[in-house]
Every structure is written in structure tokens, then in C-alpha cells.
């Protein structure tokens, strides 16, 4: 008999370490991904996208701005178009609101409900928001509209990512 015979104990040791290793890896990998992902996302959030809007042309009437950027997932690189409602408030400050209804995610429109003029209106379940984006009590949404981070470069409005309403 050869001296290199693997004893029962050694055999079990090797195989179990192997299997255990795989199992540990299987558990740790997704955890690692969860840990790292938010960091990656935060970095992506720093991107500002140029719109076609000259800041000087903004008035106190909300205008709809579409802006596009590239987004990549596992299968496609696609061009995503987002929309913002933008205006200057009474103090002359720029306000950029996300049009995504905080109820179930439909797109809100400005001033389309005849009974409630000068509000944002969601056609899906008749949710309403005042001009500053605050949800009207008694309508389905329970939170105000998100706001876009923005900056102004060369007189042009650049929009960042949507964040929860600052006054909420």
C-alpha cells in the first residue's frame, strides 16, 4: 500500500473545508455587494445633467423640462429621460420638483384639474400637491414631491438626482 493514502479523517477535513468555503463565499458575496452598492450609487448621484433651460428665462410658472442620460443595467445601455417641473418661487429661488407622484408613482401634471387650479395634479387617483410640492391633505399621496438637486453653470440649469423634499 502506498504511503500517500489519504486517511478517512484527512479526507473529511479536505472535503468539508472545501464545501464550507463555498458556502461561506456564497453567503458573503451578496453581503459584500450590498455593502458596496450604496457607495457606487452615491457616486453616480453626483452627476449633474445639463438641461436646455436658461435660468434667466424661468418665471414663476412651472415648466416641464425633459433631460436624458445614459443608464446601464445587465442587458442594455439605455437612454433614460426624466422630467422635472421647474420655476422660480416668490423669493426668486429656483425650485425643481420631480413629477413622480408619491402615492403610486404616476406622473403629475401642472394645473390640469379645473376644480383646483395652480396645483400639481395626479390623474391616477386624483392626488394633488400645492405649487411648492407639498401634498394636499385628504388626497392619496402622503408625502411631498421629491426635489432635484441642481446647479447653474453658464446660465444653464443642470439637474442632479431627486431627493426627498426639503421641507418635509
Amino acid at each position: 500500500m502506498s504511503k500517500h493514502r489519504v486517511s478517512r479523517r484527512q479526507f473529511l477535513n479536505y472535503t468539508l473545508t472545501g464545501v464550507g468555503g463555498f458556502m461561506a463565499a456564497g453567503m458573503l458575496m451578496p453581503m459584500l455587494r450590498f455593502a458596496v452598492d450604496p457607495v457606487l450609487e452615491a457616486a453616480a448621484g453626483e452627476n449633474f445633467v445639463a438641461t436646455k433651460q436658461k435660468v434667466d428665462d424661468l418665471t414663476n410658472k412651472p415648466v416641464r423640462l425633459d433631460f436624458s442620460y445614459k443608464q446601464k443595467d445587465a442587458w442594455y445601455e439605455s437612454e433614460v429621460t426624466d422630467t422635472a417641473w421647474v420655476y422660480k418661487n416668490d423669493e426668486g429661488k429656483i425650485v425643481a420638483l420631480s413629477p413622480v407622484c408619491k402615492h403610486l408613482g404616476c406622473t403629475v401634471d401642472w394645473n390640469t384639474d379645473k376644480e383646483h387650479p395652480n396645483q400639481f395634479f395626479c390623474p391616477c387617483h386624483f392626488g394633488r400637491y400645492t405649487k411648492d410640492g407639498m401634498n394636499v391633505k385628504g388626497t392619496p399621496p402622503l408625502k411631498p414631491l421629491d426635489m432635484y438637486d441642481f446647479k447653474v453653470k453658464d446660465g444653464i440649469l443642470h439637474l442632479g438626482s431627486a431627493v426627498p423634499h426639503k421641507e418635509a
Binding site: T81, C101, L104, G105, C106, T107, C124, H125, P140
Partner: protein, 154 residues
């Protein structure tokens, strides 16, 4: 919403708010009208996803009901109507069919206003912002149809 697992989670939590089904109707042809049907499909796909984006919280956009364009219209009509009955039985209140294929216009009356026909505008070679503007206009018109129905049902 679409038939995607993450959307379905939302559906399960808010089922009473999601009462409308959208079914695109898409013809397939490998004969002389191949390109024409391809164009309809392109247009319809974009249109449907824009509608979905706008009304995410109240509608479910289904995969298209596809059919061979050269076969007779009767059987596809029956299928569509069967789908509709089935969804109504599931508790949905509105079912809309959206198509660019003008064949459907001949059977429109059987659908009791739930068939929406939109002419496919050729998108090839059009400037992006113009395309978007055009699509927005179409979506707006369809929105009006939805809003009307929803207001009536209120």
C-alpha cells in the same frame, strides 16, 4: 406597472388602486408588409412604455398580444375579447387595447370603446426632440381617454 416581480410587489400592496389593464395588439408579417408592421411595432412599443410611465400607479401594461397579420381578423378578435372578459373577472375595471394596425378599426364596435387605434408615424431619421414631442402628443391624447373613463367611474 409592468409584469415584473418588483412591480408586482407594489401591486399586491395596493391592489385596490390598480384597476386598469393595457394590452398592446401587435401584428407580425413576413410578406410584403413586413417593414410596415415592424414600424408599427416600434411605435407601439414606445407608446405603450410611455403610457406605462405616466400611469404607473393605476395600470398594468401587459406583453403584447401578437398575431399573424395575414390570418383572418376574427380569431384574434375573439382572443382579445376573451382576455378582456378574463381580466374583468379578475376584478379589473378597465381594459384598453392599443394598436397601430388599422385592421382593428373594422371591428372597433365590438370593443365598446376599449380599442384605441393610433397611426404609427415613421420614426426613422427623425430628430430626437421632435420624436419625443410627437410621442408626448399621442400620450396626451390617450391620457384624455383614460381620464374620461376614470372620471366616469368615480
Amino acid at each position: 406597472m409592468k409584469l415584473l416581480p418588483k412591480d408586482i410587489e407594489m401591486f399586491e400592496q395596493a391592489r385596490e388602486h390598480i384597476d386598469t389593464i393595457i394590452v398592446p395588439l401587435a401584428g407580425i408579417d413576413f410578406g410584403t408588409n413586413m417593414k410596415q408592421y415592424a414600424r408599427m411595432n416600434e411605435f407601439l412599443t414606445i407608446l405603450a412604455s410611455e403610457i406605462e410611465r405616466q400611469f404607473k400607479g393605476r395600470i398594468i401594461l401587459l406583453p403584447a398580444l401578437s398575431y399573424i397579420a395575414s390570418l383572418d381578423t376574427e380569431s384574434r378578435k375573439q382572443t382579445a375579447l376573451e382576455w378582456k372578459v378574463n381580466f374583468l373577472n379578475e376584478g379589473f375595471k378597465h381594459v384598453f387595447f392599443v394598436t397601430c394596425d388599422s385592421d382593428w378599426k373594422a371591428v372597433e364596435k365590438d370593443f365598446d370603446q376599449s380599442l384605441i387605434w393610433v397611426p404609427a408615424i415613421p420614426l426613422e431619421g427623425l430628430d430626437d426632440s421632435y420624436k419625443r414631442q410627437m410621442m408626448d402628443e399621442q400620450v396626451r391624447q390617450i391620457s384624455n381617454i383614460f381620464s374620461q373613463k376614470w372620471q366616469q367611474a368615480k
